[in-house]
Each structure stands twice: as C-alpha cells, then as structure tokens.
C-alpha cells in the first residue's frame, strides 16, 4: 500500500514529463488498436463474404468426402441434423448443398462446370445471390426447373438467358446423369473461379438429375463474425454423430485465404512492433531520468533501512503506472473511435468501391471490436513497462548508499 502510494506520488513529481511519456504510450496504443481493429475488420468482412459463397465458416459433410469429393460420398438429408445445428446460438444460417461436376454444352461449345445444387431461398439470405443477377432472373424454389449461370461461363458457351443448357455427369452409384435446363438468369460473381465455372441449380432438380434423392454433399454453416471458430467446430462436432459426419472449418477448406491473412498480419505486427519499440525508448529515458535525479534520495532510503528489492519494486510500479495510464487512455480512445465508426461506418466510394464489389465484398469498412485487440495491447504495454523497469531495478541493486547520498 505504502509502496503504491509512494510510486504514485513519485510519478507526479515531474508532471510534464510523466504526461508526455504517458501521452506517447496513449498514441501508440490508440494507433495500434485502430490499426488492428481496421485490419481485423477488413479480414472478417472478407472472410464472411468469401465463405458465404463458398464453404461456409464451417461445413458438415460425410466422413471421407473431403478426400474423395464424389457423389457417392453424400449423405441423406436429415432434419434432425438441421435442428441440432440451428440450436447452437452462434449459428445464424445453414445451407444444404449438392455439389458435383458435369460437362455443360450449348450448340457446339462444351465445358466442364461446377454444378451447385442449392436452396435458392436459404442461399440468398446469406449471400444476396439474387442481387448479383445481371441478366434474366434468380431461381425461386428448390424445385424450379431452371438454372442460373456464372456470367463468364455463359460468355464462354456463347449462351443467353432462356437458352437451353445440356448437362452430362455422373450420377449416384455410377448411374449416368443427364438433363436439359432453361437458363433463367446470369450472375456476376467476384471470384473468377466461380464466375467462369458455376451453374446454380435448385437442389431438388440436382438430386433428381443425379439420381440422388434427398442426398447432400454438404451443409454449410454461417456464424456470427466474431465467433471463436475452433471452439465452435469442436462443439458442433460433439453435438452430431461423429461416425457419419465430419466438421471442417474454412481455414482447412480454403487454406490460401488463411495463409494470406497470416502473412498480411505478420507485416502489420512488424509495423506495430516498430511503433512500440520507438515508444519504449521514450519510457526508458524517463525511467533513467527518474533514478538519476533521485539518486541522493534513493541512497537515504537504503541508509535508513529500506531493502533494495522494495526500492526496485517502487521503480517498477512507477514504470507500470506511467505506461498503464497512457494505455488505459489509449484503450478508451480506441473504444470510442471504433464505436463511432460502428455507428457511422465508412462507405467506400469510387474505384475502391468497384474493386471491392467486383470481388463480391461489401464496400463498407468495418472495424473489429473484438476484446482480444484491447487485451493484447494492454498486455504488450504492461510487459514492455515491466521489462524496461529491469534496468533501473538493476541500478538500484548496485547502488552504494554513501556514493548515492553524496551525489
């Protein structure tokens, strides 16, 4: 108690210096928080958009499907499974799919395509697929006898809305699958892969075509953006029959995106690291000044019977107090900043907006307000201030009382 009080009083002996030092910590923390929050927000948004078209945050498929993505590794649609999944409060949507490959032809053109059997209603709730229609119309129900094509694929096949597409593929248990469909609409997708290859088909039509009634390749699961993926994956896996089903996360299914984010984050960590390094020098300088100008007093304290350990502890507390003062102000500033931009988000305009939309990503800048960001910054500052206090502490341990008193 006495030591805390003493440390607190000591840091205010030179108000201006303490304020300057704490302010520098404040700006470092604020910058780091805003920076992390911005990049995390952008990542989260990117992930959300990408997985909403592709894998989902988590995907449930039959055990073994991922290694051999064949129609024979499908499973029976199961309402009970849906109920179990939707019971989890973190799960926002589920999207059953039957995903196969087929040969598409129109007139004299032929191309291998990805046939996505979807529930058009469930799908549009998640990824606004209907908004991406550039010609014709979106499919309405699971049994609609029509398909929607990626714009790039349509261009390749030289096909227009209302033309008839022929699909040839392999059905369930080596049966053959062939069917004709009216092209109801064309869709423009940011992901070129999909845009050039995808055929969206109502799921019942797809099941019928493949002779796979009521069968699915996967159920994609959408979650709140800020959910802890690992934990949820585990809890979902535990809640369903693990002999039949396997749960995979987007990180496993789209490792490229995960790696990209990791590499990008590393660069950001380096920038923030440099920032903290610079600030550390300021704090260190202040700590050195604080012991050099107080040498006489420190000598007296040792002379009258204060253990050097206690004295070093006081200096440590002083270091922690100055930096945490700045840190807390920075965290509060960061929270206000992020709150503000959550209420009034930044809408991108001009070219940037187009680039985003071309990739099918919402052109709004989100700031992540994950508590992890604030906790990390506080911990970093705390650790830095403790590490920096080692040198003054060491100086105190070496102090000779007579010399100190005479200085």
């Amino acid at each position: 108690m006495m030591l805390l009080k003493l440390a607190w009083l000591n840091i205010w002996r030179n108000k201006r210096r303490t304020i300057i030092t704490a302010t520098s910590v404040f700006f470092a923390v604020l910058l780091a928080i805003v920076f992390r929050s911005l990049t995390d927000g952008v990542y989260d948004n990117m992930i959300h958009n990408v997985v909403s078209y592709s894998s989902g945050y988590l995907q449930i498929h039959q055990k073994g499907y991922w290694d051999e993505q064949s129609i024979d590794n499908t499973f029976q649609e199961d309402q009970q499974l849906y109920q179990v999944l939707l019971k989890n409060s973190k799960v926002t949507h589920i999207m059953p799919r039957l995903q196969t490959f087929a040969l598409a032809s129109y007139a004299n053109k032929t191309k291998g395509v990805l046939v996505l059997g979807i529930d058009p209603i469930k799908e549009r709730e998640v990824n606004n697929l209907h908004d991406k229609i550039v010609a014709g119309e979106y499919i309405e129900s699971v049994s609609d006898n029509a398909v929607v094509l990626g714009e790039g694929l349509a261009a390749h096949l030289k096909l227009k809305v209302n033309d008839t597409l022929i699909l040839l593929g392999q059905g369930y248990h080596a049966s053959s699958a062939a069917a004709k469909f009216r092209v109801k609409g064309l869709i423009k997708l940011g992901a070129l892969e999909l845009n050039n290859n995808v055929v969206y088909m109502p799921i019942q039509q797809s099941q019928y075509m493949h002779g796979a009634e009521n069968r699915l390749t996967s159920v994609s699961v959408m979650l709140d953006k800020a959910t802890n993926l690992k934990k949820l994956k585990q809890s979902l896996q535990e809640s369903i029959d693990s002999n039949t089903y396997e749960v995979m996360s987007w990180k496993e299914m789209i490792p490229e995106m995960d790696q990209f984010i990791e590499a990008d984050s590393t660069a950001h960590y380096i920038i923030i690291g440099v920032l903290y390094f610079v600030i550390s020098f300021g704090l260190f300088g202040t700590l050195l000044m604080m012991i050099f100008e107080r040498k006489h007093e420190l000598g007296i304290l040792i002379a009258i019977g204060m253990k050097k350990r206690l004295l070093a502890l006081v200096l440590l507390l002083e270091s922690i107090m100055i930096s945490l003062l700045g840190c807390f102000a920075g965290v509060i500033g960061g929270i206000l900043f992020i709150k503000w931009f959550t209420i009034y988000p930044i809408h991108l305009t001009g070219e940037l907006k187009e680039v985003y939309e071309d990739y099918g990503i919402e052109s709004i800048i989100y700031f992540s307000s994950h508590e992890k960001i604030f906790i990390t910054q506080t911990l970093v500052v705390l650790i830095v201030s403790i590490l920096l206090a080692f040198y003054p502490g060491y100086k105190v341990m070496k102090l000779k009382p007579v010399e100190a008193i005479n200085s």
């Binding site: 006495m2 006489h296 007093e297 007296i300 304290l301 002379a303 009258i304 019977g305 050097k308 000779k400």
Partner: protein, 232 residues
C-alpha cells in the same frame, strides 16, 4: 553497569588503494557507551564522514571491525545489514534527508511502516515524536514547505522513530543558521537525556561542539584527542 554500544576496533579506510591511495581513516579505536552524547570534530578531510559511515554500516572498512551493541556489523551480508540499520541505527544527514513527496508525518512514519508497526501504534508514535521536536503544527507539511531547521528536526524525529540504539548525524547543522542549529542541538540533547539514546555527530561548529559531553578530534584520519567536557 555501562554498556559499550559502539566499538570501532582498529578501523582503517583507504580509498583508491590501487591508483592514488587516500588513507582517510587509519587504525582508529573508538568506544562509545550507551547514552553518550559525542561530537566528532576535526578539519575538513580529516575522515569524520568516512568514520561515521563505517560505524553506521553504510561503508565497509578496509581493515578492522565495527561492533554495534555486540553485533559485528562489518561481517553482515548486505540485506542483513540493511535490516540491522532499520532496527538499530538512526541517521541524520547534512541536508535533503526527507522524501519530498511525503508529509512530515509520512516521512517519520515511513521507517515504522518498513518495520511493519501497526497503524494505530504508528500514528501515536509519529505524533509524539513530532511533538517532541516541536513540529506539532507541521505534521501535514511537505519538506518543501518547511525551513531547513524544521526539515532537520523532522529528520531527527524519523531517526528516533525506529527506536534505534544510536543516532549518527553527519554535520546535521551545517546548513542551518546558528539559532536553528542551537535549537536542533537542544532537542537532540533533550532526547539523549530523556530517551537514553546515544548520539554521535560530526560538526565544525564551535557552538555545537560546546553542547557535547565528549569530543573526539580526528586529524588526518587518526584520533588526535578524546576528551570529556561539561556542556554549556
């Protein structure tokens, strides 16, 4: 029965032994008994501070030993020595004795906190001590708000707080005007009488020397004379 409280035995101190040796204190023998009121005098550079520092365990002699109340402090480890000082020796230095951010009361109480004296007892003792040095009305003043003489009196109160066996004071009046110096000495003499605390102080001031009951004179690091006197 008188008890030897300080026994400096054949103490020597040489600074810079390898380069330009300075023999600050040479083969000094000093015995001081409980309750004595001793002035250590001598010309500048004669070794007064050096000897006091060694007696207080702030500095190590190059040779010889210092025994305080039967404990050979020259043999104690650093941490034991700090603890020994906390419980047995009070110090008053020439100036800037106090922690500037704490009030007079807190400064005096500080050593008691280091000794883990409970709050109630601490408060009582601090008030008694500050009253004894005549600063009852200044208990909540910071050192910066006190005169030099008042600061030294707080320092004396602090030195007394831990109930030490001896108080060592290196030129406690050097920065004081003669009136404050006399006042401080009177207080020290009173405490010496009433609380049986042994005082050993160095000084240049003739009027201060007169108040001592024993005067040890150092010249060139050696004891030149050691006389008893009647204080005036």
């Amino acid at each position: 029965m008188v008890k030897t409280i300080i026994d400096a035995h054949n103490v020597s101190k040489t600074f810079n032994p390898k380069t330009v040796p300075v023999h600050a204190v040479q083969n000094v023998h000093v015995h001081i008994e409980e309750g004595e009121f001793v002035a250590l005098v001598g010309p500048s550079g004669s070794g007064k501070s050096t000897l006091l520092n060694m007696m207080g365990g702030l500095d190590e002699p190059t040779a010889g030993s210092v025994i305080i109340d039967g404990v050979e402090i020259t043999k104690l480890s650093e941490n034991k020595l700090i603890d020994f000082r906390l419980h047995n020796i009070g110090f008053v230095f020439q100036s800037f004795n106090l922690i500037p951010v704490l009030t007079a009361k807190e400064n005096v109480g500080f050593v008691l906190q280091l000794q883990h004296v409970p709050k109630m007892e601490r408060e009582k003792r601090v008030l008694t001590l500050l009253e004894e040095v005549g600063l009852k009305d200044k208990i909540n003043s910071k050192p910066g708000e006190l005169s030099g003489g008042q600061q030294q009196r707080v320092a004396v109160a602090r030195a007394l707080a831990s109930k030490p066996k001896i108080i060592l004071a290196d030129e406690p009046t050097a920065n004081l005007d003669s009136k404050s110096a006399a006042n401080l000495l009177d207080i020290m003499a009173k405490l010496n009488k009433e609380e049986k605390i042994t005082f050993l102080f160095s000084t240049h001031d003739q009027r201060v020397i007169k108040k001592a009951r024993r005067v040890i004179t150092l010249v060139d690091g050696k004891v030149a004379s050691d006389v008893q006197q009647t204080p005036t």
